[in-house]
Symmetry: C4
């Protein structure tokens, strides 16, 4: 089974997810600068989630580049990833709407954690199918960054109830860590 | 006529359908966990429909893999399938909004039944065009799973008025049955 | 300049146009069958526009199949077509919302007429670029169906103010006339 | 790293951005022609932004045609461009909703300016990666049109507070200047 349509479908879904988030920035009826002020938390949430979804798209792109063939389980592991990604516009909107209150920030992290798990599952499925000595398996290696991300999300979730800005800081940290595209695979493919 | 753009267009439409459903999860103005409670039925409907549309995308992917050429009738049979799929966000939303009441659950099943019929029609059109001794015709065979699904939907619709949870159970059952991608075609292509 | 991205972009825009129309079917808060009754005119408008946009996608698909290279003018002629197509969800919604009243039906026809003109312009641009003796030029020929459609729209617009159902009848007639994909190009390519 | 998925993803995002803007044209509950009058400024804003996004798509198309390989920085420079483009539906809606008042018109120009910068950054990244003697570098040259556009936006923003129609005039001027697709690259590729 070729990977072409899986990539095309994932691109479509991710493109829509990243774009519909902007619909949460409801257009004010007033023309003054003051009318934009209540949108600031929504805008900040949007920026963070745009970067996160951009990271997932980038990594997904890299991940599938090292792959030739896929099977049914991989299709569903990918669908699972898209499902959790599709909840990000909701958690982004709830977080922005409620000015980074504890519960919305915790839920935001929970969805990030589950999206991260879904990505790990997809990676594992791909490695199983490609073999433990494949380019992909070597490139992913022990997946240090992936594991650290999951730990940081897991720390951030309870932290939201102490101070939701600490949790946000951790989300920003994870994003910064991944902002650099996955050079491991690029290197392995080149080497 | 090549199948490339048919696949691309279908991927686009299905990607949008699966994603706009999430817009039904309206963002609560309150920050507490209680604010999420009314969304639970909508969320459950979303999960079920996400899986259904995922199944249709997977099967559509498999179906067209066994095909090389298409014609005008196939284009329209595919458009018919996309039309019924496009109604799923509406029936999903109505079902979630009204906590799985009888009429919404019956309409949900009706649209699933008509989507199922549209898929059968598309399959038949493809087989007619490919020939009765084609890989596709052999792979689809007597299409036992397809027929059982239609029967189960047809049973679920009146059952909604007895107890809508029985109907839901049947929808979940059909989804579970199809969750495994269509190995018949994979096997036939490999063999 | 290759046509690949033009097709991909057009597929994306048309896929979104055909799908967002369904968002006009607002989900009723009540669970009874009565709650669906006010949606009937919106649903009928949706069906008509779904078929129209399906026809445009089919014909666009056929048109570009007979083409290898494109230029900047063709890109903009295509963008012009997408612009008028993008107004169809609005006119569809207005027509359905107001139960096929005169002005909405006339506007619906006006947008169809301008979309039709945009399609004619795109076809002419492609023929100029391909040459008057190209497969495309021969296939399109005198474009009888295209011209009749424009005349029927032009008749339907004033007719909306006499009886909007007569206008609707003409819209259905044009759709029926185009429902059969453009066999002229298929034949010319095959012969 | 191949450019295929970058193009596909960008096409998807741009297609959605150009299409969701039309959702701002809220459907009137009345059937008369008067009901359309309040939509005129929204419609004009929509037309302007449709042309702008069309221009970006066209130029993006041309830009990437002259490119074979991409890297991680280019992926992010592209994501940055898509981010600013994704804000255009919001600024378009705000400008139309408030009948071209000073602040919305200034913000519209600010987002155009930042989108323009993002495009310049993407172009620079591509030239760095392709080399200063590449077809692309020669085609882009001193990028006179790009620089003039940025200057005109920068002039238009403060001008919005003097008379917002002067600012609009500049936006229309820049659009007109770019309406002609980037023949520099076409010529360089052909020559």
């Amino acid at each position: 089974m070729s990977k072409g349509r899986l990539e095309a479908f994932s691109d479509g879904v991710i493109a829509i997810i990243i774009t519909i988030m902007v619909l949460e920035l409801t257009i004010p009826h007033e023309a003054g600068l003051d009318a934009l002020r209540p949108l600031i938390p929504k805008f900040l949430s949007y920026v963070l989630s745009f970067i996160y979804i951009g990271i997932y798209w980038n990594n997904h792109h890299h991940l599938l580049q090292a792959v030739r063939q896929i099977n049914g389980s991989i299709l569903w592991a990918n669908m699972n990833l898209l499902f959790w990604l599709s909840l990000i516009p909701f958690t982004t909107g709830w977080m922005g709407e409620n000015h980074f209150a504890a519960w919305p920030v915790a839920l935001y992290g929970t969805v990030l954690l589950l999206t991260g798990f879904a990505y790990v599952i997809l990676t594992r499925m791909l490695i199983i199918y490609q073999g433990a000595d494949s380019t992909l398996a070597i490139a992913v290696g022990r997946d240090f960054k992936g594991k650290v991300s999951l730990v940081l999300y897991a720390v951030a979730i309870p932290l939201s109830f102490v101070n939701s800005w600490f949790a946000e800081l951790l989300y920003v940290l994870v994003a910064a860590m991944w902002f650099i595209p996955d050079r491991r695979i690029e290197k392995a493919l080149a080497g």
